[in-house]
Symmetry: C2
């Protein structure tokens, strides 16, 4: 590796899934250096294999910051989901405990903790950036992205879903929901979208739908991982009998868009980017 003052040294805080790798692939081509912080039982070892990385336990905040300084990191990005663990199950270091003490009620939420971590890093003079600043093409665009345009009944379900998620948002819990003809089949909490889709599939009725709706939380910290969907999400939804996916435009990530569109088109499944401010009055 070449050390140069002109380079950006990016640290990727690697949650689950392949997104951290995608960032690395993209960033590498720009000639800058990348460094992974990987977390045991969270990060997929294959994603960081062969890359400059360090393994940590969740809760080792000081160790994470030390590693960033050691690698002259000047920017940090969080990529991929990290499920908010029970605090007493963690080996929290002193720095983490101090951080939590500052956090107050925020530590209750799924994203609140990550948001605190981001603040802690920025206090070290290191900038925490959103994924969309590296991979702008993954931000969900507004409008119909694939498949047939939603019918009136599907639009009503999208509205119903957005309404419920909008109420739930400030609680910093769940970011997706399955709706079928106005009936909320399932609300996501800690189980993750894929399990929620499967459950909703088994609870659906013999009518059109259901629809999957995924949006960011009220005042979501954009430095923290945004709601994400990709080919797996769409495949799972189609397998479970869903007929469409609504993602929040400009506030969620759509991975592998070309593959998503291909799968969706083949299955007459719609994918749409919606602006909640235009839909919820």
């Amino acid at each position: 590796m070449i050390d140069s003052a002109m380079e950006t040294n990016l640290c990727v805080i690697a949650g689950g899934g392949i997104l951290p790798r995608k960032i690395a692939d993209n960033f590498d081509s720009s000639g800058n250096r990348i460094f992974f912080l990987a977390f045991r039982n969270v990060t997929d070892p294959e994603v960081v294999a062969g890359r400059h990385h360090e393994w940590l336990e969740l809760g080792e905040v000081q160790k994470a910051i030390d590693a960033m300084h050691r690698n002259n990191v000047d920017k940090v990005v969080m990529a991929g989901p990290i499920q908010r663990p029970a605090l007493s199950s963690l080996a929290l270091d002193t720095r983490a405990l101090k951080m939590l003490a500052k956090g107050g009620l925020k530590i209750f939420g799924d994203d609140g903790l990550l948001s605190l971590v981001a603040n802690e890093i920025e206090e070290e003079g290191i900038k925490v950036i959103g994924i969309e600043q590296i991979l702008s093409e993954v931000l969900t665009k507004e409008g119909l992205l694939a498949g047939p345009a939603p019918t009136k009944i599907f639009w009503d379900d999208i509205k119903r879903g957005l309404h419920v998620l909008n109420r739930l948002g400030p609680c910093d819990v769940g970011q997706s929901i399955a709706v079928q003809e106005g009936v909320v089949l399932a609300i996501e909490a800690i189980e993750g979208t894929d399990q929620m889709i499967e459950r909703a599939g088994s609870l659906q009725r013999n009518v059109s739908g259901p629809i999957l709706i995924k949006m960011s939380k009220a005042n979501q910290d954009k430095r923290v991982d945004l709601p994400t969907a990709g080919p797996e999400t769409v495949n799972n939804a189609i397998r479970a009998g869903f007929q469409g996916l609504a993602l929040e435009a400009n506030n969620s990530l759509l991975l592998d868009k070309d593959r998503v569109i291909k799968i969706a088109e083949k299955n007459s499944f719609f994918v749409i980017g919606v602006d909640q401010s235009k839909i919820l009055q």
Copy 2:
């Protein structure tokens, strides 16, 4: 059966579970007459067996009202859960369609539809009463009802749960939640409390808890079935590793309280009635 102008003729709109039978047992002893409306695929046939009853399909509103008049019903009570079905899956009669047209957005909710049905019945000069008017002893009382007093960590989880349910209430979806050290493990939608408990059990972490919190929805129509827990709920929760149950005092039903207390005490599981207005500021 004796016909007398002095008697009350009560119609029980029988949802799932044994609650409709309990009402009948209690009401019979008062010497009044009871008449069941049972619904295919909803009401347990054993609950109405040997009782004066009629079977209907969900959506047959006119038929239900005609049956009430034929049986000189002067009071109606709704007992036991009726899952809100997809409207297009129902054989709706003309009366039901007119009712829905009046209902507007209310028809989206789980209870909204039942509330509309209650209004429709009252327009016929028949009074719809809450279950607590017949079985006052099933209303959840405020304070610790069984088991050890909740510790600080459990109180925090109760608050977190109430806060989320309070946000969700106006959407008329779900009325229970599982929380463990601030982490919302599961939110109930259409699957019912028992399935939610099982799921939360499998998602829990290796720390104390989880806690089950169940409360009524904002502006809940008390004529419509209130949130309910009983020995089965507590047994399921204990089996799934839960350590306590918080019910909304005066706004939820606790069935078979003596058995609940026995089971809870034996398992060091707390059952508490909480007044959300005192807890949420």
